[in-house]
Amino acid sequence: MDYLASAGVLIGIYIILAAGYNLIIGYGGLNTIAHPIFFALGAYTTALLAIGTGLPPVICIAAGIGVAVIASVFLAVTTLRISGDYLLIASLGFQLGLLQAINNLDFTGGPSGLSNIPVTLSGPARGWLYLMITAALALLVIWLVHRGMSGPFGRAVRAMRDDDVACAALGRGLFTMKVVIFAFGCGTAGLAGGMYAYYFQYISPEQFNVAQSATILTMVVLGGIGTIWGPVLGAFVLVALPQVITFLQLPSSLVGPLQGLIFTSLVILFLFLRPHGLVGTRTPGAAH
């Protein structure tokens, strides 16, 4: 069933996105909502290289990751001396500004997007091959986050999140830590973008707007912020649930509102009843 494979690929892409975002916001405590723009940078770089140069997919996706990392370092260096609400606003500006640029540049296709991304894998097994690749990449990202957050570096990152003044007083380089986790988290978004571009073969600015931030944030919060498996579970629930609703044979005018209602209800319920998410503990980051 190619449909299941397609849903699986989307879940895998969102797991990569949510795991990277969880590293930044959950472990690092850096309040940013610019994650979709790094997703977009990965997707657009990959797509433009694939269309314009015909380079192998691995190189195009690597370039996408590279551009996302460079952009994230730029954002980090210019904004990470601020934190909290100020960082949130700065990241929002970065997200909106860059997306407007993509929306108004000719070589990115403007609002029309890019629709002639070449086919890389074909045949009846295409969906399953993509699923295996995406699943492997998602596992790799989860493992890397787990490794990074399990050792001394992870403890330092969590200490920075909980009390940055105390952490700095212990001699830790907060700025370097912030840049590293920001670059890694955003680089994974670039990877997700590259996979998205190759699999769906059509990208446009509206696929990477600020509403994506809400979706990814909800995945992280619902699954369990600051945990390894929380974003995985959150991505699975939030991608699979709308698909399940389409099988209920409901009138089309009901399906959309029902999806919105369930999404909103889940967020409210979790905020009140289980703020630490499905797999989280009351102290974020102490789950493992």
């Binding site: 190619d2 397609s6 609002p111 029309s112 997007g113 629709s115 059509y202 696929q207 089309s252 399906v255």
Partner: protein, 380 residues
């Protein structure tokens, strides 16, 4: 004897029709998919499209279906967003096993195109008019004329018949707006006119003062606005700014809701339509009668005429495939489309599918006069 036979025939005709219809309902249906925005900002149009599809499907099934089999439509919501369209197309093709998917809205048509081409499923556009749609691949066709048809006619008419020489073009910054605005600019310039302003506005904008003032500085004698559901606000704000110029728009402006929202500010507005009216086509009157039962005027009647006719096209494709004893696959549906080529459609007239993935239609120009759309000219 003859009288008795005639009476029997008359009495048996509805019974036969009923029996045929009932027979059609028992057989495996011919299924097709429709990806439409039934929620979100474009749902006003999307829900009316779906309603019209339902009317058309019912009409076909009441007449006995397609080759004795009922027609069945599966609708999935896209909110006019590409990411939802991709997910919906995958479900329609892989789970519901449809061989043809009807789409509208340019970004949705484009997002579904790679899937249609990859899976060899026919995608029929019934409402988007981006010129790019002609180049989306072997399995993407349109039954709706793309922007070059009506926008070209309108720009030429404005320059040559109305004698306007300085045009300002304001457009929504999306696929539809950019494509249409560029065509208007190129045609108007080629006809000897001058474009004094060429300004885009954000699709989510509610204040258009900036672009309108830029247009005013150019001192145009006509303002072409290529927008969507925000069109009434743009026109209202233009009039509030004291700009009395002639306004033109394309088929999105041919909407009774626009007249109700704008009132006197709509007077003189020239819009295009790509479908005949109830006055010239009695089938349209029947469609309007069906809408009277819904209890309100439909949004974008010409689009609904194409919605009805696209259902008829799909039914004709199924009938051709069935007649030729071919399996219902996307390849065979595409083959049917190219073999039939010319369709005589109830709501919009003759449709000729060409190899360049475009269709040509007469363009009807309307002007708002005394609160009504009045036919100004027809350009064949």
């Amino acid at each position: 004897m003859i009288e008795q036979l005639t009476r029997r025939l008359v009495l048996s005709a509805p019974a036969a029709l009923w029996a045929g219809a009932a027979f059609a309902q028992q057989k495996e249906p011919f299924r097709f998919g429709a990806l439409m925005p039934t929620t979100g900002p474009e749902a006003g149009y999307g829900l009316d499209f779906v309603k019209t599809y339902e009317m058309a499907v019912k009409d076909i099934n009441d007449k006995g279906g397609v080759a004795g089999r009922p027609l069945e439509m599966i609708v999935l919501d896209t909110q006019a967003k590409p990411e939802l369209a991709i997910s919906g197309a995958n479900k329609l093709i892989d789970v519901d096993k449809v061989a043809v998917v009807i789409t509208a809205w340019s970004s949705v048509v484009k997002a579904v195109a790679p899937i249609a081409n990859r899976t060899s499923v026919l995608e029929l556009n019934m409402g988007a008019n981006s010129p790019d749609i002609a180049h989306l691949g072997d399995y993407v066709y349109t039954v709706f004329p793309l922007a070059e048809v009506d926008v070209t006619a309108l720009a030429k008419y404005t320059r040559e018949k109305l004698g306007k020489s300085r045009a300002a073009v304001l457009y929504i910054n999306n696929d539809t707006g950019i494509g249409g605005a560029k065509i208007y600019r190129d045609v108007f310039t080629a006809a000897g006119g001058q474009i004094v302003a060429f300004e885009a506005y954000d699709p989510k904008a509610t204040d258009f003062t900036g672009v309108l003032l830029k247009a005013r500085v150019g001192n145009p004698d006509v303002v072409h606005i290529h927008g969507l559901s925000e069109l009434p606000q743009v026109i209202a704000q233009m009039r509030q700014l004291g700009m009395p110029q002639q306004i033109t728009s394309y088929s999105a402006g041919y909407n009774p809701k626009l007249l109700a929202q704008l009132g006197a500010a709509a007077e003189g507005l020239i819009v295009t339509s790509l479908a005949p009216t109830a006055g010239t086509n009695p089938n349209v009157a029947k469609l309007l009668d069906l809408w009277k039962q819904v209890g309100r005027a439909p949004n974008g009647l010409p689009y609904l005429q194409y919605a009805w006719d696209s259902t008829v096209v799909v039914a004709d494709l199924f009938a051709w495939v069935d007649k030729n004893k071919l399996p219902v696959t996307g390849e065979n549906m595409r083959k049917a489309l190219l073999e039939i080529k010319t369709f005589d459609l109830p709501m919009t007239g003759k449709l000729v599918v060409t190899n360049d993935h475009r269709v040509d239609k007469p363009v009807y120009l309307y002007v708002v006069k005394n609160g009504q759309f009045t036919l100004l000219d027809t350009i064949a």
